[in-house]
Symmetry: C2
Subunit: 135 residues, 2 copies
């Protein structure tokens, strides 16, 4: 799968797994909704943030900006399996104009945000490598 | 969700995301099939291993045994979302009796291994924390 195809499949997916790395050196995983613009992956904070979890993620990124995102398609027919991994550098921002932009992108992608709250701070991942595999 | 419920949901899932950490300090993500026995999560190498990928994973574990596994359930109805994270210490082994045991567990869980090859080395994750969330 080419990087362009990988990005396209990633961008069309509904959920990704975000991996950050903590100060202990261990990976921290969490599912995220997201929006892709070019080589940027955006995510935000859902309505009822489980504060501890989100802080871990944000704190990890502030200390170690290298992150990885995975989108995967599971199917009992293994000839239909695929996944795309996006590796990049992340930053956390609460800049109101950026948060507003990202919330608008997310509301366009997810009807659920009509009733579920969404806000900042947001995570911006500048992806340097799109890598995909399909069976 | 209690740790016991978390483990039960994890054990019943079909695919997990495994995160290891590389020497650069960045997380490396890959989907894996698996089997759970008590607080151990086993995974192996599928028939046509993409050698580079598998070596990265194995090399990462040998250098940094702390890993994280995530199982997640996506649903457009967000009242049905859940995920379980298993954090633990991993080791890689090619011990024939262990590999045989793990392959047998995996063949019992996945009918697909009747036609898809599966073998060692295997990854053993000794889970110290089962953490689950449901909407």
């Amino acid at each position: 799968m080419t990087p362009a195809e990988s990005r396209e499949r990633f961008a069309a997916a509904r959920v990704a797994t975000l991996a950050t790395v903590g100060s202990s050196g261990a990976a921290h995983l969490v599912p995220v909704t997201f929006a892709v613009e070019g080589d940027t992956v955006w995510s935000a904070v859902d309505g009822k943030p489980k504060r501890a979890t989100w802080l871990v993620r944000h704190e990890n990124i502030r200390a170690r900006p290298a992150v990885s995102l995975l989108v995967q398609h599971w199917d009992e027919d293994w000839s239909r399996l695929w996944w795309v991994r996006a590796d990049g550098l992340a930053r956390v921002t609460a800049d109101p104009s950026i948060v507003e932009h990202v919330v608008s992108l997310l509301r366009r992608r997810y009807d659920q945000y009509a009733t579920v709250g969404v806000g900042g701070p947001v995570i911006e991942v500048a992806v340097h490598t799109w890598r995909g595999w399909s069976a």
